[in-house]
């Protein structure tokens, strides 16, 4: 039931969610990456897809590295930072592995859909069976290879599963254009809520 993803999308900059985002983004578009870190995905998209790449990142050090590699990144908070942008300013707004870290995920999603025509969200699936087993057997906040943090050190403040996101998308009346489920380097084709470690969704308003 695991189907190998073609080699060229298996990994991008060492990350499988990046590989999928790299595939999804159309050339020559305007892209905003929230929580863009060092700007490596943006740099890749600018160099390989000719996109107009912008980013928001909270860490001064990471912003410095991103700007130094030639990416336009703004040092600021995602929860606060989106409201300055005009409506539909971007073709894509990307939130990679950060939704679970935002204080107001639903509000963040709504704002992303305001400033971007399409939103690409990648997040770790807390519904994965290892999480469930870890919690069931240990009776403690789950810790796995993918989520190694102790509860008090974890940047993750919201614990969502594939089903949870699908539910929120339905609640917001969103159209899910693409969904990818990953376990390791492999694509998950069945029981994603149980088997996927990472989910990537591309959604838009109708």
């Amino acid at each position: 039931m695991h189907k190998k993803i073609p080699a060229f999308v298996r990994e991008l900059l060492g990350r499988r969610d990046y590989a999928i985002i790299g595939e999804l983004v159309e050339p020559g578009t305007k892209v905003l990456d929230l929580g863009c870190g060092d700007g490596e995905l943006l740099k890749w998209l600018a160099d390989n897809k000719g996109v107009d790449a912008r980013g928001v990142e909270i860490s001064s050090e990471r912003v410095q590295r991103a700007i130094s590699r030639g990416v336009s990144v703004y040092q600021g908070d995602i929860d606060q930072g989106l409201k300055d942008y005009p409506d539909q300013a971007f073709d894509y707004v990307i939130l990679s592995q950060t939704l679970q870290e935002t204080r107001h995920p639903r509000q963040a999603l709504t704002e992303m859909l305001r400033v971007g025509r399409r939103v690409i969200v990648a997040f770790p699936n807390f519904g994965h069976w290892r999480m469930r087993v870890s919690m069931l057997l240990s009776g403690r906040a789950p810790r796995t290879k993918l989520f190694p943090h102790a509860w008090y050190d974890s940047p993750n403040i919201h614990f969502l599963t594939v089903h949870d996101f699908e539910e929120l998308a339905a609640l917001e009346g969103l159209i899910v254009e693409r969904r990818y489920f990953l376990a390791g380097a492999d694509e998950v084709r069945a029981l994603p809520n149980l088997l996927a470690e990472v989910a990537v969704f591309m959604v838009r308003r109708p």
Partner: protein, 368 residues
């Protein structure tokens, strides 16, 4: 690298106030080579007390330029790649026409008959210089403090003439606190009897007032941390208090020294006129909002502020960056950690260098 200051004279300039200055001189320096396509020119804007000597060694004084750590071969503004220009501002006293210049109508220095100038006037004169050089579009306009105001003014006033702007430790409008410090400096000068209504040329200049003004300036350029680090409570050349009003503390000695040095190289009336230009600077004036002011901006922008800068605090950079975002401008911004206060953009340049280098390289790539 020995660099000489050149001067070019233009017939006249009309100012924001409606006054006309004729003729008008501009002192400038250039570094590096203009490429055949004329696409690699960068205009550097000096801060309040700077001059055209931004880089290299002056044959006159033997001193390096005020941003020599940022401009030169392999540096942030890499003169192996870019053609870098810096000119003394209008109203200055280092070669460009200012209150100490001779008024051709009277044969005497202008003194207080010099018209009040604005940041917009400074930029207008720079545009005349750039036109005269035959440069259709600047790859970048960059500067810190008042230099950053000019960089912003360029992006707003001449949107089709600048590909990018790098405003550092600056603001889109002078705040009450900034105006207040400038006013104290002006009052110190004007309270000096030697100021004599501005008419002191050929006589004793108002050195005491100007020195006090500069001392205040230097306090605002540093931070509590940097002053504690640099001076602490150390005494100057003595073991115990003198129990008099000579210099006791290192910090007093430093301020007195900087004040007295300044008197030798700066004209008190220029101090009055240039600080006034800064105080008048407000990009929202007549436009309603900063977002409206940035409506026509086409330049990519890299804004930088420093954590310990309390004279031009980060909120001012953030304000202008947010307004640029409402216009969907291509803007990068970072607040750099530094203990050096407002002076950071001049002295704490390691991280600033990486940022400027990457931003310029990417900007230059985009126009190829």
């Amino acid at each position: 690298m020995i660099v000489e200051t050149n001067t070019v004279r233009f017939d006249s300039i009309t100012l924001d106030s409606g006054a006309e200055l004729a003729p008008v001189d501009v002192a400038y320096e250039t570094y590096g080579q203009l490429n055949a396509a004329r696409t690699n020119a960068i205009l550097i804007e000096h801060a309040f007390s700077g001059d055209a000597h931004a880089a290299g060694v002056s044959p006159e004084t033997g001193k390096p330029g005020w941003w020599d750590n940022m401009i030169g071969p392999g540096k942030a503004f890499d003169t192996n790649r870019y053609y870098v220009i810096c000119s003394n501002v209008l109203g200055g006293c280092r070669g460009t026409t200012g209150p100490a210049s001779i008024n051709p109508a009277t044969g005497c220095p202008y003194a207080m008959s010099f018209p009040v100038i604005t940041i917009g006037d400074m930029v207008r004169l720079q545009r005349m210089l750039v036109d005269w050089m035959g440069i259709p579009k600047l790859l970048s306009v960059s500067g810190g403090s008042m230099g950053g105001m000019q960089a912003l003014e360029w992006a707003v006033a001449c949107p089709d003439r600048v590909v990018s702007a790098i405003p550092i430790a600056t603001t889109a409008r002078h705040s009450a606190q900034q105006i207040a410090f400038n006013e104290v400096g002006r009052q110190a000068i004007m309270a000096d009897p030697d100021w004599n209504g501005g008419d002191y040329y050929g006589k004793q200049p108002p050195g005491r007032g100007l020195a006090v003004a500069r001392m205040i300036g230097h306090i605002t350029y540093m931070s509590d941390d940097s002053m504690r680090e640099k001076f602490g409570r150390r005494l100057r050349g003595k073991e115990n208090f003198g129990y008099d009003f000579d210099v006791d503390f290192e910090v007093e000695s430093y301020l007195r020294y900087r004040g007295s040095q300044f008197v030798n190289r700066f004209d008190a009336n220029s101090y009055l006129y240039i600080t006034k230009a800064m105080d008048y600077f407000d990009l929202t004036a007549g436009r309603g909002s900063l977002g409206a002011a940035f409506e026509k901006v086409l330049a990519r922008v890299l804004a930088i502020s420093f954590t310990s800068d309390w004279l031009y605090p980060s909120y001012q950079s953030q304000e202008l960056v947010r307004a640029l975002r409402t216009r969907n401008c291509d803007v990068a911004y970072v607040e750099l950690p530094s203990n050096y206060g407002h002076d950071a953009f001049l002295v704490d340049v390691a991280e600033q260098t990486d940022l400027v280098r990457g931003f310029l390289a990417n900007t230059f790539e985009k126009i190829q």
